[in-house]
């Protein structure tokens, strides 16, 4: 330890009073005091408890149930212009499928009306000469899709093709001459055999929620102290900048981890997302990410010193980027190079890769280690930057 001589703080602004109590213990005591002060403040203003505990539960429930890319009960109009046994059987395929809600119509104009009003998402049209063409082996089913939601439309398209294909296969099995192929595909989806979109959406949601609560918990705290002038009051105490920052980080970190545990419990027991990796890896990488998120909030708050601007900036740099640019929904590889470069700066990208892997694939160290290392680096840089920005100096 250092000898007891009058020291100056790093920027040389004010002399620091020499410690008289045992030196090693004093910072701990001071930090502890700050943590307690912050904790009292949290308890007295229920809004930050709401962010840390209620919000994650609310969000995971809302989105865990609400967000889904699985398509069921697509409203479809089937226009039977050629009612024959064959075509009725084809229509029955659609009617029996859980993927479609079928309306059988005799003619196109009515179907067109329904589609214009978006009462149906697609029209399956079986033309008058279908049976005749079928016997010649060149029949055609016409599919008109409402293309406004392109991704949905593509899923509907594949369902319809699947239903028609199954019907053809069944006819083949019954001895009708049907040529399939020659090459067919046997598909297997690793880690998610049944195509549950929830399996990747729920881990992605945890990323969104941790980003939010982490950054929002701390985004306002430093700015609030600046605005209220209470930071100046802290300056005249022996507390050092590091200690102020630690005092701010520790209580919010604890609260964020509570939120995380609640989210993981919900994803496991409510949404039945398999957790194939170990809980410890999950907890470790999440702690790292929470530090990064808290660091972002602290940095914004310390640098901007205004609650209003800090809130706007936090909103811009956390929520939407974590939603759009993290690989949570949209494939990163398909983005143009400049946009992809931006994603490398975003911590959410690494956490999404980590969570999707730890949840669905297991502890694959080749994925876990590099991504965790990046997060650790980011956390260190952010906390150092915050320390650099927060000077014991009047603005």
């Amino acid at each position: 330890m250092m000898p007891i001589t009058p020291q100056t703080s790093p920027n040389g602004m004010m002399p620091v009073i020499p410690q008289t109590s045992p030196i090693g213990r004093a910072p701990v005591k001071r930090i502890w005091a700050l943590v307690r002060k912050e904790a009292y403040q949290m308890v007295r203003d229920p809004s930050s408890i709401a962010i840390g505990v209620v919000l994650p539960v609310l969000l995971i429930l809302l989105f865990g149930y609400g967000l889904s890319l699985d398509v069921w009960h697509v409203p479809v109009a089937i226009v039977l212009e050629d009612p024959s046994p064959d075509t009725r059987e084809l229509a029955a395929r659609f009617q029996l499928s859980p993927y479609f809600d079928v309306q059988l119509l005799p003619a196109m104009p009515l179907a067109r009306e329904l589609m214009l009003a978006r009462k149906v998402d697609a029209i399956v049209r079986i033309r008058p000469d279908f049976a005749r063409h079928l016997s010649h082996g060149d029949a055609e089913v016409q599919l008109l899709i409402h293309g406004t939601d392109a991704n949905h439309a593509r899923i509907v398209q594949s369902y319809v093709q699947g239903a028609v294909g199954q019907w053809a296969a069944q006819r083949a099995a019954e001895g009708h001459e049907v040529a399939t192929g020659p090459v067919s595909l046997r598909e297997r989806l690793w880690f998610n055999e049944t195509y549950e979109s929830r399996y990747f959406l729920v881990p992605g949601l945890i990323v969104l929620i941790m980003t939010l609560i982490g950054a929002f918990l701390t985004a306002m705290v430093m700015a609030r102290e600046w605005e209220r002038g209470t930071l100046e009051a802290l300056f005249v105490t022996p507390v050092r900048v590091d200690e102020i920052l630690l005092g701010k980080t520790i209580p919010y970190f604890a609260m964020g981890m509570v939120g995380l545990v609640l989210c993981v419990l919900a994803s496991k027991f409510l949404f039945h997302v398999p957790l194939r990796g170990s809980v410890w890896v999950l907890a470790g990488v999440s702690a790292l990410y929470l530090l990064v998120a808290l660091g972002i909030g602290l940095l914004i708050s310390a640098a901007l010193k205004s609650q209003f601007v800090a809130s706007q900036v936090t909103l811009l740099v956390t929520f939407m980027p974590a939603f759009m640019l993290s690989g949570f929904l949209f494939d990163l590889r398909s983005m143009p190079a400049p946009v992809r470069l931006i994603t490398y700066v975003l911590p959410a990208r690494y956490y999404v890769a980590l969570l999707q892997t730890v949840f669905l694939a297991g502890d694959l160290w080749s994925v876990v280690l590099p991504n965790a290392a990046v997060l650790a680096g980011m956390a260190a840089v952010l906390l150092l930057l915050t320390r650099g920005v927060t000077r014991k100096k009047l603005a």
């Binding site: 809004s47 930050s48 709401a50 919000l55 609310l58 969000l59 809302l62 989105f63 149930y65 967000l67 889904s68 890319l69 699985d70 214009l116 060149d138 029949a139 008109l144 899709i145 409402h146 293309g147 406004t148 939601d149 392109a150 949905h152 593509r154 398209q157 053809a168 399939t180 020659p182 090459v183 595909l185 046997r186 598909e187 989806l189 690793w190 880690f191 990747f200 939010l212 929002f216 609650q307 209003f308 601007v309 809130s311 706007q312 900036v313 909103l315 811009l316 939407m320 939603f323 759009m324 929904l329 590889r333 398909s334 983005m335 946009v339 931006i342 999707q356 694959l364 080749s366 994925v367």
Partner: protein, 372 residues
Amino acid sequence: MFDAFLRILALTLKELLAVLKEPRSRNSLLIPPMLQCLIFGYAATYDLNDVPYAVLDHDRSAASHDLLAHLDGSGVFRRIANLNRAADIKTAIDERRALLIIQIDQDFERRLLSGLPVAVQMIADGRNSNTAGTAMGYVGAIVEAFNADWRAVHAQASPPIRVAVRAWYNPNLETRWNMIPGLIGTLTMMQTLLLAAMSVAREREQGTFDQLLVTPFRPVEIMAGKALPAMLIGMVQATTILLVAQLWFHIPFAGSFVTLYAGLSVFLLAAVGIGLLVSSVAATMQQAMLFSFVLVMPFTLLAGLTTPISSIPRALQYFTLVNPLRYAIDITQRVYLEGAGLSRLLPDLWPLAVLAAVSLAAAAWMFRHRLT
């Protein structure tokens, strides 16, 4: 009447000045929507244009090369490795180097030539099952093209049934065409709602709200003076994004701008109303921000932009009925792609009008009955 108008105007000007005079807050209102629209416009797409895949070709025949050439020539699939052993499949997928593995059996060509059906195995990384599903769909289409070529060359019968697909309004089913119009409402709502929510909370925290209450302003006028500037800023933001969509991304615009702006004004009124309601409930700026965030997030995610509303469970679908963004996205997409007129947009417009009326009335009531 004229006095009231003047007072509202004065308050609007003061409010605009308060937001715009500070360069930081001025910049935070105009530059981000533009940047976000540019970046998210490129990012928010389910279409794939780069799918890394690896091949385990046990056959190594002319036919298997031909099939793989179809994949490589698509411009979407990028072959990263030719694997030699089945054990390599696991590492290629685990390390995320390949999204797909194509496995071709030894007797591929022999069976093809003798007219027997052949299966090609495809393994996909399901950590994002939507991306994987889309990629597999692409492979399916390419294999169909290969089949058609093969049948043409080898004079085999074509399958008896085809599905002829035509998509209305978006013939190539490009996600960008529905995402970017949807961004107009999404990006605008976030900041407008927050702006309205913070405006009163800030006055309250700084103690100037009480001063405002002792002026001749009636509560309704204060409300109008707070709502108008937020709406104006929202309109400017929406226009900025619209310009990016038109001039940069060239999204085809089938409808009329008058309809679009009519729809957007009702939407912004509803968003501002909800913001003011939040503001009237919140005691501090932190609370205002928190409350608006608790609203903005579900509004954004459950609006039908990224995941369809029809996939939401029934009970939660009722919640989306009070989500102004849901209607705004529908309006912008339909005006953009379908060229819908006001009469066809009525099912979206009247709920927005009701939302605006209810939230503004509730906010006005709260302002009058709460003085803390």
